[in-house]
């Protein structure tokens, strides 16, 4: 349990605010919460659930205090009343909202449902899953479509570039079936890094959970509430956003000169080196 909550300070305590500071509404909610609990206290299994709920909420309150100390100090959200996600108190709901707004997108995708149980939560991938999704190239990033062309040499993508961006296929080199073996062996440079990132995003091999997680037919990895997980998801989400911004920049470059950039990508894929500008 110590590992669950981190090493406690000597005087470690989970104080949420004494009764004296509570308004009438909060005291009433706590009292009815307690009475409701008393009606089912004879059941040992329900008692176990109650203990788990109290411990689980306490852990979230500790994390709230750690990550958002100022918000915690000023918060008036109830510790007892159920919030929008009704398995949790208003205060825990407030914590989830702050995580969603400031650290990483918690509420996206299937987590929008008010019945969601966040004890072991999944994140919603920022990537595209190919297993069931029919891709409409007009609505995805241009750089992503270009990268996808390298992996699949798909006729539909060729048509998309030909019709929408006037790309002449005959002006471009043939795409090899697989990428050059040196592509991932050579040291990354400032110019090769964004292209490799793009290919890794498409291939779901970035090492970043926001891109590699599959969100289509099955839930991906699940996460629990602890500092290590929050730091991991926050840092990786920041990195994911940076990579998406990079992709946006690449979109602009491709849009301005699609043939030049497609050629650059194909040469990079085939030969493992970037052609000179």
């Amino acid at each position: 349990m110590s590992a669950l909550l981190g090493k406690p300070a000597l005087n470690s305590a989970f104080f949420y605010g004494s009764d004296k500071n509570l308004n009438f509404g909060e005291r009433l909610t706590r009292a009815t919460d307690y009475l409701e609990f008393k009606t089912r206290i004879g059941n040992a299994a329900k008692a176990c659930e109650t203990i788990e709920r109290i411990v689980s909420e306490s852990r979230k309150f500790e994390l709230y205090k750690k990550y958002f100390p100022e918000k915690w100090k000023n918060s008036r959200a109830s510790f007892s009343r159920r919030g929008f996600y009704f398995n949790y108190s208003e205060r825990a709901n407030e914590f989830f909202t702050l995580v969603n707004e400031h650290l990483f997108p918690l509420f996206d995708g299937w987590n929008e449902d008010e019945e969601t149980d966040f004890e072991e939560f999944s994140i919603f991938s920022l990537n595209i899953d190919f297993c069931c999704t029919e891709i409409e190239y007009e609505y995805i990033s241009l750089a992503y479509s270009a990268g996808l062309l390298l992996f699949t040499n798909n006729e539909e993508i060729w048509e998309f570039f030909e019709q929408k961006y006037n790309v002449r296929r005959k002006n471009l080199p043939e795409i090899n079936d697989s990428a050059h073996k040196n592509l991932w062996r050579d040291k990354r440079t400032a110019s090769s890094d964004p292209l490799l990132n793009l290919l890794e995003i498409i291939d779901h091999t970035t090492g970043n959970p926001w891109f590699d997680t599959s969100g289509c037919c099955e839930y991906g990895e699940t996460y629990r509430w602890d500092e290590r997980t929050i730091n991991l998801l926050s840092d990786s989400f920041r990195e994911a956003k940076r990579m998406l911004d990079e992709m946006d920049e690449m979109d602009v470059l491709i849009k301005n000169d699609p043939e030049k950039w497609l050629k650059r990508l194909i040469v990079f894929w085939n030969e493992g080196v970037l052609p000179d500008e």
């Binding site: 349990m1 909550l5 206290i41 040992a44 008692a47 176990c48 203990i51 109290i54 411990v55």
Partner: protein, 72 residues
């Protein structure tokens, strides 16, 4: 078999009551949380034992008794 069992309140019920009271009074100490792991394990073992006993009880064949309990 059931008569031989110790009669006591399941420890989770006692701890849940205690934590609810402390939470309502403003909070609790880390030591309380430390106890929960032990108590939950103990409590779940007890619940499993009771469930096993019930399952075994249900498998018992019916047998007539020489004494009819009061009320029947």
């Amino acid at each position: 078999m059931l008569c031989e069992e110790n009669e006591r309140i399941n420890p989770a019920i006692i701890l849940a009551e205690e934590l609810m009271r402390k939470t309502n009074a403003g909070g609790f100490y880390f030591d309380d949380i430390e106890r929960t792991k032990i108590v939950l394990n103990e409590s779940r073992r007890e619940i499993e034992t009771v469930n096993r006993q019930f399952e075994a009880f249900e498998k018992l064949p019916a047998s007539p008794s020489r004494i009819v309990p009061k009320g029947f």
